[in-house]
């Protein structure tokens, strides 16, 4: 199973600023290994974020999002202590969710 995401969600004025670092190879399927064999594609295709169950972001990705993806966004209507949950799904059908309290 993949490593947990590092998520920082903090109230800044009337908004919540979110910064996420995911752990994923984001393999494009274009790259060859030392023996010249194509490394099969393996990348995150979908990312969603919700705050206390309310959707705050949805993203569709291709293989050209960088390895160990970084993502930052901002939303209104979140308060200290609210739960921010982030979920990704990849081409292998794996998915991972992590949750933090907004600080």
């Amino acid at each position: 199973m993949s490593d947990p995401m590092r998520i920082r969600a903090a109230v800044k004025g009337e908004k919540v600023e979110v910064k996420i670092l995911m752990s994923h190879v984001m393999e494009t399927g274009q790259r060859k290994d030392a023996e010249g064999a194509v490394v099969p594609a393996h990348y995150i295709t979908k990312v969603t974020a919700s705050c206390n169950g309310r959707d705050v972001l949805s993203a569709d990705w291709g293989p050209s999002v960088s390895k160990n993806p970084y993502l930052s966004f901002r939303f209104k209507g979140g308060a200290k202590g609210d739960k921010l949950k982030v979920t990704w799904t990849d081409t292998a059908g794996d998915s991972r969710s992590d949750e933090v309290s907004i600080g």
Partner: protein, 154 residues
């Protein structure tokens, strides 16, 4: 007669659904308003935009797009897009010279800023397009990023 018809319809239903599922897109289409997946297979900006149902986006100064002029490492080029266009629903990132141009799409529910920061791979020096879908249509801006080390090596 009725039985035959039913069997025929069942078979049609099964094979039809399987074929569509294999062709990818049906399942996501059922749960999402706009399916962006086909756009990710496009090799040219125009084809990607067509797959997204976007025709002739208007160039706009209301899209603030930050990206480095020169990126030493094409594997991780920081990009930041903010749209001040009213009714912004989606921001799309497309890298013109990548094997597949479409990099990412972000959609913003009400209450979320039309802002996103991430990092993308850029295979070679290329224009990066930030396309914004609003209630009033599609807009874009672009930035040229020169890459000294390509992004496909991982």
């Amino acid at each position: 007669m009725m039985l035959e018809r039913r069997r025929f319809l069942q078979r049609l239903g099964h094979t039809g659904l399987a074929a569509l599922t294999i062709a990818s897109g049906l399942l996501p289409r059922l749960v999402r308003a706009a399916d962006t997946r086909p756009a990710f297979a496009a090799e040219a900006i125009a084809d990607a935009l067509k797959a997204l149902g976007i025709a002739n986006p208007t160039k706009s100064d209301a899209i603030h797009f930050k990206a480095p002029d020169i990126a030493e490492n094409g594997a991780a080029v920081p990009v930041e897009v903010e749209s001040t266009l009213p009714g912004t629903r989606e921001i799309l990132l497309l890298v013109e010279k990548n094997p597949h141009v479409m990099s990412a799409s972000f959609s913003f529910p009400d209450g979320t800023d039309a802002y996103v920061a991430t990092r993308v791979k850029v295979a070679e020096s290329s224009l990066i397009h930030a396309v914004v879908k609003t209630d009033a249509g599609a807009f874009y801006t672009d930035r040229l990023v020169k890459v000294t080390l390509g992004g496909c090596g991982g």
